[in-house]
């Protein structure tokens, strides 16, 4: 970003600013990955992950994963409606399951489906809600043990450690969300400030999303009761809209 190579370079440097701004959130994501890896070690699991709600509102997706199949998990979507992780997300209740040594049950649930997609087998599983305040923002999971099966179930002490890590993940998730929101808003402002220097296509179409982004940021600052009333209002409008379309 220095001007030592002539007047053309500062223009390119300014054009590169939005990308640099966007990349700044990567460090927070890396920090989250490091914390998940540390959690895996402290809890004594083989793998761990953080799932967050997908944009479609009916699935969870893997935001970060400490796993040999982390790349595959990035493409896996877990239904909120039909999974233990979804149950944990909905109810804010920690849940742990473990296979019985006596027999490996013929599984037909979604964990088996995830296992098929990712190429892993989940035998010992611990899922905790990731909360910001008292609101669930995701789920953190710990899977299996190092080495081969049979795996001992997670102990109450290990679950307590997992609770501590869930709290830390909650703080980092909130931070990441705020950082991304600020970066997106700043990017919009930056493009306006750059004017004709902005890369082609950087204008048009950006205004609507950024308006929504700011509305969402404002909503986040409301109390839970106020947010609840907004949800009720939106649901009412949605039902009215559906009825109106049908009639």
């Amino acid at each position: 970003m220095t001007d030592k190579n002539g007047p053309g370079d500062w223009q390119q440097a300014l054009r590169d600013l939005p990308a640099a701004l966007e990349a700044s959130t990567e460090s927070s994501l890396r920090l989250l990955k490091d914390v998940v890896a540390l959690g895996v070690q402290a809890v004594g699991s083989a793998e761990g992950s953080v799932l967050v709600p997908d944009l479609d509102g009916v699935h969870l997706r893997f935001l970060v994963a400490y796993s040999p199949v982390a790349d595959k998990l990035a493409n896996v979507r877990v239904p909120i409606q039909g999974s233990i992780a979804g149950y944990v997300y909905c109810t804010s209740q920690m849940t742990a399951t473990g296979d019985l040594a006596e027999a490996r049950a013929e599984g037909k649930g979604y964990s088996e489906e995830v296992a098929r997609q990712a190429g892993t087998v989940t035998r010992t599983y611990l899922a905790l809600p990731v909360l910001v305040g008292d609101r669930p923002r995701g789920v953190t999971t710990y899977i299996n043990r190092p080495g081969g099966p049979p795996f001992a179930p997670f102990t109450p002490e290990e679950m307590q450690r997992a609770r501590v890590f869930a709290g830390v993940v909650g703080v980092l998730l909130r931070h990441l969300g705020q950082q991304r929101g600020l970066a997106a808003a700043a990017m919009h402002d930056l493009r306006e400030a750059l004017g004709e220097l902005a890369p082609a296509g950087a204008e048009g179409g950006e205004r609507a999303p950024i308006t929504w982004l700011r509305v969402l940021q404002q909503l986040e600052g409301l109390s839970e009761d106020e947010q609840g009333r907004c949800v009720e209002l939106l649901e009412l409008v949605g039902r009215w809209w559906q009825q109106d379309r049908q009639s």
Binding site: Q81, C90, T91
Partner: protein
């Protein structure tokens, strides 16, 4: 054997009656993720399965017809495990499954409220006990849930709810008129303790409990969710001894039974 409340206040008579009871004549609602009635452990014990789903007028309760596959009945497996624990400990109790999380739903507090309202006002024939191994931390549901919990209390319906195991204030477990349960790593399925002054008054076995798994087989489950059905089963047994017991009386008897051990129940019914 039917004993009146005063007779049951004799701890020896109470423990003996509890050991002989099976939950016969008692219907228990399991408000949860559904119950896999195709599982061999649960065959023939569920009288009715309903699901709370969204329609254009809001949340509606519909019967789940016969012939559904395990994953359609309980895609998560949570409710199946809870039902299995209740059945294992109160084998003659009948169950009603009320699915408020799972397929065709998104597990909001609204669904939960609707499901509980159905249990209280619309379920026929009525249930006597409700297992609530779930809850919500959403403050906006506290009011509607309190109203329903109070209504249940005055109707004489016993609600047993799992406390939150993340240390959060959760509803309805935080309401004093129902029985809220915490998880302890007890080995004995009949062992529970009383915790004076705590929102979760009772602590029961909820760590690695063997229970049926959706689709067949068994799995180990941990959480307050799985401690709750242990107390639900004890309540079902108490009501099979005396179906006129009120929530107040049931709490008094549970207090009398605190520190209960397997010796009070036939070993054949003890969970693994």
């Amino acid at each position: 054997m039917t004993l009146d409340f005063d007779q049951l206040l004799d701890a020896t008579a109470l423990r003996q009656a509890l050991a002989e009871a099976t939950g016969a004549g008692v219907r228990v609602a399991v408000v949860d993720t559904g119950v896999d009635v195709t599982h061999p452990d649960l065959a023939g014990i569920v009288d009715r399965s309903i699901a709370v789903t969204r329609d254009y007028s809001g949340w509606a309760c519909r019967d789940l017809g016969p012939g559904l596959a395990a994953a359609q009945l309980d895609p998560v497996g949570h409710g199946t495990a809870c039902a299995g624990i209740i059945h294992e400990l109160a084998p003659a109790a009948r169950l009603v499954s009320v699915r408020v999380i799972g397929a065709d739903s998104n597990g909001t507090g609204d669904q939960f409220v609707r499901g509980l309202r159905w249990v209280l006002s619309e379920c026929q024939p009525p249930v006597q006990v409700v297992n609530l191994s779930l809850g919500t931390t959403g403050e906006r549901f506290a009011g509607p849930l309190r109203e329903l919990v109070d209504k249940a209390y005055w109707k004489g319906l016993i609600l047993v709810a799992a406390g939150n195991n993340m240390g959060l204030t959760a509803y309805p477990a935080n309401f004093a008129s129902l029985i809220a349960v915490d998880n302890e790593a007890f080995n004995d399925p009949w062992h529970f303790d009383y915790r004076r002054g705590k929102p979760m008054e009772l602590a029961a076995r909820g760590t690695y409990v063997r229970a049926p798994k959706t689709g067949g087989g068994h799995q180990l489950f941990t959480g307050t969710s799985f401690a709750c059905p242990h107390i639900t089963a004890v309540v079902a047994r108490l009501l099979s001894i005396n179906p006129t017991l009120t929530p107040f009386q049931v709490k008094a008897l549970l207090h009398l039974l605190r520190g209960n051990r397997a010796t009070a129940a036939p070993p054949s019914n003890a969970g693994g």
